[in-house]
Every structure is written in structure tokens, then in C-alpha cells.
């Protein structure tokens, strides 16, 4: 298996070729580890969980951004692999890119739960009442592992460095669509902006490469609809209330532990 990696050491860039043996059930991350351990100790790449839930190992494999720990050799259907760092990011070394802009853009859309009464987020005697159907309206967008592949695929990010990016906008929609959140007015200034939601022209490449099926393109189009509804029709969302505390004695046939052998200090 021939592997061609784009190297960068702070000053110069070059392509380097390696020759490793690989089984069809190996993933690209296995091959990278083998290269680092046996052929070249200076290769730098990120990895952590090796099972597709942390998002560290994002890189461009044969022209498409993908997670290295999830891409099997048998899927690539080719005799040679070409690895590059993610597009549209600054490269620090080899396949390691700088994610500072990515993190800052995410933070600027206020991706946290906002309630009109902030005390409700501090003490919680009971949970909010959310039915399973209401759960479905936003939970798909909560699967985001922040791997950065969507910004590598988005053509608008390539042109405009100030564009918020599909990840930040999808996370803004995740909180706006959440029935428990009440913070639409606080976020709308950042979103309803020429570098915000309106820069996206639905190329859909972000959804195409997303490794967890978050579908940020769908989130952004729904977000545009919400912003238009708010600006033109002044419609506001209704949020849910907390559940009631039920005080009932336990049933008689409940499982019981054995009686205490000792006296509890200040017991229940």
C-alpha cells in the first residue's frame, strides 16, 4: 500500500511517500500509526479515541475530508492513499491544523442554554417536561463532535474567512430549536448578518462529509426560515415548563436492601 503524505515542518512543504503493508480491514489511522512506529518517528497527526466519537483525526483522504479512524482501506478501493491536512485551516505541522478560529466562531453564537430567569439553570428541583417528539426536533444537531470536517468542505469558508461556518450555525439552531431554550433574541444579531446565515448558499458539502450525520445544511436552511419568520412576522417560540414533583409513598412490593447492621450518622 503506497501512502503519500503532505508534510510541513514550519518552513517548507513537500510530499513524502511511504510503503507499508496493510490488511483490508485496517483503517487509515492504523496505517498512520504503523508508519510512525516503524518508518518515521517525526510524523505528527492527532488521534484519541480510535472509534469515531472524539473527532481528533480529521484529515483529507483521497480528496475528501473524513475521519481517519473510521475509513477502512477496503472502502477506499484504491492502491494508493493520499493524505493532506484539512482544507481551509492553517497548518501547524504535517497533518495537524490550527482550530482556534473554529472554536472562536462556535463560541460567538452563544451555544448554551438561555432562560429568561437564570435561576432556573442554577437549582433544579425537577426536570423540564419534554416529550419524545419534541426531543426529535433538535437532537440530530446535538450529535456534532466538533471535528471540523464541515468547514473543510464548505466553499464559502474557502472564500470568506469571517463566515461563521456550518458548525457554529448548526449549533445555534440546535439551541434555538430546543424547546427548553428561550434565547432567540440574544443570538439573532450575530446570525442575521452578512457573515452569518445569509452567506450560506446551500452547497450541501458540509452534510455530505459529516461523519455523524448531523446534517448542518438542513439546520442552516431551517435557521434562515426562523430568522425570516422573526424579522417579517415577529413570531416567537413557546418554551416548555418544568415537570411537577410527585410525592407518593413507594409501593409495598418494592425491592428492599438488607437492614442496616449499624446506625447511620444523621441518616435519611
Amino acid at each position: 500500500m503506497k501512502v503519500r503524505i503532505r508534510r510541513f515542518d514550519g518552513q517548507k512543504e513537500w510530499w513524502q511517500d511511504y510503503e507499508v503493508d496493510a490488511k483490508p480491514s485496517d483503517t487509515v489511522l492504523d496505517i498512520l500509526n504503523r508508519i510512525r512506529e516503524k518508518h518515521d518517528h517525526t510524523l505528527a497527526f492527532r488521534q484519541s479515541c480510535q472509534m469515531g466519537s472524539c473527532g481528533s483525526c480529521g484529515m483529507v483522504i483521497n480528496g475528501l475530508p473524513a475521519l481517519a479512524c473510521q475509513t477502512r482501506i477496503s472502502e477506499l478501493k484504491t492502491e494508493s492513499i493520499r493524505l493532506e491536512p484539512l482544507y481551509n485551516y492553517k497548518v501547524i505541522k504535517d497533518l495537524v491544523v490550527d482550530l482556534t478560529d473554529f472554536v472562536n466562531k462556535h463560541r460567538s453564537v452563544k451555544p448554551w442554554m438561555i432562560r429568561k430567569n437564570p435561576q432556573e439553570l442554577e437549582e433544579a428541583p425537577m426536570e423540564f417536561k419534554v416529550t419524545p417528539d419534541q426531543n426529535l426536533t433538535f437532537v440530530q444537531f446535538d450529535y456534532c463532535i466538533m471535528c471540523g470536517l464541515c468547514l473543510a468542505a464548505c466553499p464559502t469558508v474557502a472564500i470568506d474567512p469571517l463566515f461563521l461556518g456550518p458548525q457554529a450555525l448548526a449549533q445555534a439552531y440546535r439551541y434555538i430549536a430546543d424547546p427548553r431554550d428561550e434565547g432567540f433574541e440574544e443570538r439573532i444579531e450575530i446570525l442575521d448578518d452578512s457573515h452569518g446565515v445569509w452567506r450560506c448558499h446551500f452547497a450541501g458539502a458540509c452534510s455530505y462529509v459529516c461523519p455523524k450525520g448531523v446534517d448542518p445544511a438542513k439546520a442552516i436552511q431551517y435557521l434562515k426560515k426562523e430568522v425570516l419568520k422573526y424579522r417579517l412576522l415577529h413570531k416567537k417560540k413557546v418554551s416548555v415548563k418544568p415537570a411537577e414533583l410527585i410525592q407518593k409513598p413507594p409501593p409495598a412490593n418494592a425491592p428492599k436492601p438488607p437492614p442496616f447492621d449499624f446506625k447511620i450518622e444523621g441518616g435519611e
Partner: protein, 154 residues
């Protein structure tokens, strides 16, 4: 300053963003939408400039018409390309309005199921795109035949 910052990002920039190799169908439609948009803006400027010559009197207008006729077949080909651009840009624009302002053809939010085919790029969307392509291509060919008939070739 802005250009310097962009150059340091890996494989970024305007030309790279328009190259949709290996990506999905919607990215191809995005690229075509951008290119036809540029063609239409250039045509708009040229058209306004051409029509302006009417205000300068009949002589200026005759000169402009003669200039255009001297291009010969290239004028017709240029008009044909502009006609195709307008047809495609308009039809795709209608699809985008449906997607963005009304949230149609996108599919509902669902629990992601492996393998993750996103619903915004799935069946309904693809039917819409292919319908647009078929209609646009048909009308374009008709426009082409009309122009050739005007030239006297057929």
C-alpha cells in the same frame, strides 16, 4: 492583509472553492449557480451600456447595432449562453427559495441512522434538481434551435 491571511490557510481561496471534484450533486449546482450569476451580471452591465446608446441619438444606435452584427455568429452564441444562464439561474433560484425561506424539500430532523445519508441531500432534493436540469436543458435546446432558424441554417 486579508489576502495574506487567506494564503496561509491550506488550499483555500476563490478558485479552489468553485472546484467541486468528488463532492455531492448540490455542490455542482452551487458552482454553476455562481458562474451563471457572474455571466448574468456582466450581461446586465453590457446590456445597460448598449441600450444607453439610444439616448445618444439614432446615429449612435445604428453604430451600436452594426458593431453587434459584425460579430456574426459569435453574437448568437453569446446570446445563447446568456439564455441558458438565465434559465438555469432562475430555476435553481426558485429551488433555493423553496429550501431556504419555506424549509421545503429538506426532510424532517430525525435520529441519525448509520450509514448517515443526510435528508437534506436525499430523494426529494435530487428529484427537484433533476427536474430542473431536464426542463432547463429542454428549453435551452429549443432556444438554440430558434437561434439557428433565425440564422437561416435550418
Amino acid at each position: 492583509m486579508e489576502k495574506e491571511k487567506e494564503e496561509k490557510r491550506y488550499k483555500s481561496g476563490l478558485l479552489r472553492s468553485l472546484w467541486p471534484y468528488k463532492f455531492n450533486l448540490e455542490r455542482y449546482t452551487y458552482t454553476l449557480h455562481r458562474i451563471t450569476g457572474v455571466i448574468l451580471i456582466l450581461y446586465l452591465i453590457a446590456h445597460v451600456f448598449e441600450i444607453y446608446h439610444i439616448a445618444l441619438g439614432p446615429v449612435a444606435w445604428q453604430q451600436t447595432m452594426a458593431l453587434l452584427s459584425s460579430l456574426g455568429i459569435w453574437e448568437k452564441i453569446g446570446l445563447w449562453i446568456i439564455a441558458g444562464s438565465a434559465l438555469y439561474h432562475g430555476a435553481n433560484g426558485l429551488r433555493l427559495i423553496l429550501n431556504e425561506a419555506f424549509g421545503m424539500l429538506l426532510g424532517k430532523p430525525v435520529l441519525p441512522e448509520y450509514p448517515y445519508t443526510p435528508t437534506s441531500l436525499s430523494r426529494n432534493q435530487k428529484i427537484a434538481i433533476y427536474t430542473i436540469v431536464v426542463i432547463v436543458v429542454a428549453l435551452w435546446i429549443w432556444a438554440g434551435i430558434y437561434l439557428l432558424w433565425g440564422l437561416g441554417i435550418i
